[in-house]
């Protein structure tokens, strides 16, 4: 059973639709016992960092998430990925979950269309089980105006948009984050979600 953490942010139905399509059981939940008994966790999210972090804090799930992320596969998607970092500077400095080293700040390269919206090509920098079976010409769907700033050890894939934009990050153990939306990235995204679920088996 995959638990999709429903803390009030994001298009959580799309993630569930994709898991249903792949034939994996999932629930949308904010219940601590359901989160603890799940085989893997997904943290979705769209919108602004401070508002989402506040919703997470208000939901009382922060400690549970931090503890569970050390024990089972955990995937943050889009803003859910950004929340994994230590802090963000979206509107104001705001603390994140600190599960992955690094921070989040605006994409500032001059002349770029912002948001970074659309399909961009994945470039791989390190092996990760999340990216098993992907080829050299895989496009995934991004929509964001802020990006992660992280070190090479935590970066698994990136794309080129003015500079390197981290696309897949992780702590090297259970925690993964994807800046793009795998649930909206066609066949490539479905492969990534499948890889994630298979890690919990």
């Amino acid at each position: 059973m995959i638990a999709i953490i429903d803390y009030g942010a994001g298009n959580i139905f799309s993630v569930k639709n994709a898991l249903d399509y792949l034939g994996f059981d999932s629930i949308l939940t904010r219940d601590v016992s359901e989160i603890k008994s799940a085989d893997a966790l997904i943290l979705p999210g769209v919108g602004a960092f401070p508002a989402a972090m506040k919703m997470l804090v208000d939901s009382g799930l922060v400690d549970t998430i931090k503890e569970q992320a050390k024990q089972k596969p955990f995937l943050g998607i889009c803003l859910g990925m950004q929340l994994l970092f230590e802090k963000s500077y979206e509107f104001e400095e705001c603390k994140g979950l600190s599960l992955v080293q690094g921070y989040v700040d605006k994409i500032t390269e001059p002349g770029l269309v912002i948001p970074h919206m659309g399909w961009n090509k994945l470039e791989f920098s390190q092996h990760s089980p999340l990216l098993n079976g992907l080829g050299n010409d895989e496009y995934v769907y991004f929509v964001h105006s802020y990006k992660a700033f992280c070190n090479d050890e935590t970066l698994f894939a990136f794309c080129d948009y003015g500079s390197r934009v981290p696309a897949v990050v992780g702590d090297g153990k259970f925690v993964f984050g994807s800046q793009f939306h795998p649930e909206k990235s066609g066949e490539t995204g479905l492969k990534i979600l499948k890889n994630f679920v298979l890690m919990s088996r």
Partner: protein, 251 residues
């Protein structure tokens, strides 16, 4: 590198895909869920449903279409047509749409853009703009499917949309729409230069090369077409092959 997007649009009325000239002689030509699935197989980067349901009671039907499509099509879905309130936006996103396209209602009530962006995020607020030239390099904004000239300057309007929090502009040229002679390059260029947010070209695609032409001559992010794809004159795949052969990055 970010790929240029090719976006097929489906006009939907009372839950059926329709096609017709103006509002006369509209005929039902298919099931929107099946059409969306077919476009997905062809490599569509996004799919737009444009709801032209006339009656208020029919409004729920488009949400069922979105709900069913979202179960089997895993690319972004946009819904436009008749979205007038924050509640309409919420209902549409909850049904599984990733973005809404607001048009006439945003012109009448620009606060809708700001409220939508504040609550749901800019990424899901696309502003659809219908415009027509009044002189070379000057255009005004129309509403109600291109029937009413609001006498608002196009460039002022798109800048205002961006400032209010729109995540994207879908720019439809009334002059080129239906003519099939290619996208309105001067209008497109003027809008792309005026804003930092992505701009989708709409209205006028009539042949294979028109898409690449828009990407070569302007920095637009995407190009949209309805009937060309719908009547199977071209597939999304053919358009992408043509773009690729001209050095344009597509997925």
């Amino acid at each position: 590198m970010l790929a240029k997007r090719i976006i097929p649009c489906l006009d939907v009325r009372d839950g059926k895909v329709v096609k017709g000239v103006n509002f006369e002689g509209i005929k039902e030509v298919g099931d929107p869920v099946e059409c969306a699935y077919e476009y997905n197989l062809q490599g569509a980067d996004e799919i737009v449903f444009y709801d032209i349901t006339a009656s208020h009671e029919g409004r729920g039907v488009i949400l069922d279409v979105v709900r069913e499509t979202a179960k089997k099509v895993f690319v972004p879905l946009t819904v436009g047509g008749g979205i007038a309130t924050v509640d309409d936006i919420r209902d549409t996103l909850r049904a599984g749409a990733d973005k809404v396209s607001v048009n006439s209602q945003a012109v009448k009530n620009p606060q809708l853009i700001k409220d939508g962006a504040d609550i749901f995020g800019s990424q899901c607020i696309c502003v659809g703009v219908d415009a027509k030239a009044i002189s070379p390099n000057k255009w005004t904004v129309y509403i109600n499917g291109g029937r009413i000239d609001m006498k608002i300057d196009l460039i002022d309007w798109v800048k205002k949309c961006e400032q209010l929090g729109a995540g994207e502009i879908c720019l439809n040229s009334i002059d080129t729409d239906g003519v099939r002679g290619g996208f309105d390059i001067p209008m497109l260029k003027a809008v792309v230069d005026a804003v930092k947010i992505p701009v989708i070209a709409s209205g006028g695609a009539g042949k294979l090369g028109d898409f690449a032409d828009a990407f070569i001559k302007t920095d637009c992010s995407a190009a949209l077409a309805a009937s060309l794809f719908h009547f199977k004159e071209l597939t999304v795949g053919q358009v992408k092959d043509d773009c690729r052969s001209k050095g344009i990055t597509v997925r």
